[in-house]
Point group: C2
Chain length 137, copies 2
């Protein structure tokens, strides 16, 4: 699905040199079927598991920030102390389970709003997010 060439083009198109670190991180992030909701820590675990490769934590942070600026990932709203990111950059919504701290995607069309307020003057709506917090039944 995400061949090396595609990844390199993606990086080039956002003025990011396709270094081996960025290519590896991009592979881990984008070469998967399901959305990946992650923190710097979880990404670091995925990348640096059991002495395989070795990418510094600083590069993990730098790359996440670069990918975010380039629009390849987006940051998620949480009230966790860590920043959460999402490989799904389409407008969509989330279930949040405070017990497991896991987010699950909700397709945009699964939520239908038929009334929303007007934004304050001088402002327009950039994005609308719905977060549905869960609890045990």
């Amino acid at each position: 699905m995400h061949q090396k060439k595609e990844i390199i083009n993606k990086l080039r198109s956002s003025n990011l040199r396709p270094t081996k670190q960025r290519i590896l991180i991009a592979k881990k992030l984008f070469d998967r079927k399901e959305t990946f909701h992650f923190t710097a820590e979880t990404l670091n675990q995925v990348i640096n598991k059991k002495g395989q490769s070795r990418i510094s934590l600083a590069t993990i942070y730098n790359t996440v920030e670069a990918f975010k600026k380039a629009g390849h990932i987006r940051e998620i709203l949480t009230n966790n102390s860590k920043s959460y990111y999402d490989t799904n950059i389409k407008s969509h919504h989330h279930f949040y389970d405070p017990e497991t701290k896991k987010l699950t995607d909700i397709d945009y069309q699964e939520v239908v709003l038929n009334k929303i307020p007007n934004p304050p003057k001088g402002k327009k709506i950039k994005d609308l997010e719905v977060i549905i917090s869960l609890q045990k039944k």
Copy 2:
């Protein structure tokens, strides 16, 4: 509106001794017309402005946590590095302006949803929040 007695009762009812620090913090938080969206830092500024009273930052944090646990305030979802709290504990929604980092309340009935997805099995919905991010028109 929020007399000292009411505040003391509120504290007592949640098993919090009405100390002078908690009473003062509660007054600053709850004795106001508009919702207060705050961080530990902004609350500390409100409390410890120009050499008036003096409550330690540790107590600010302790009290915010205690009030949150007691359900007198709630934490807000943001992607800011600081934790945001809200004196409006009713279910409601927010505009978020990333430029000013300010939140504005949206009344619950200002947003009408006529389709929401079913929660995963074993779970039920605890809360549903809508955050509308703004940008310059």
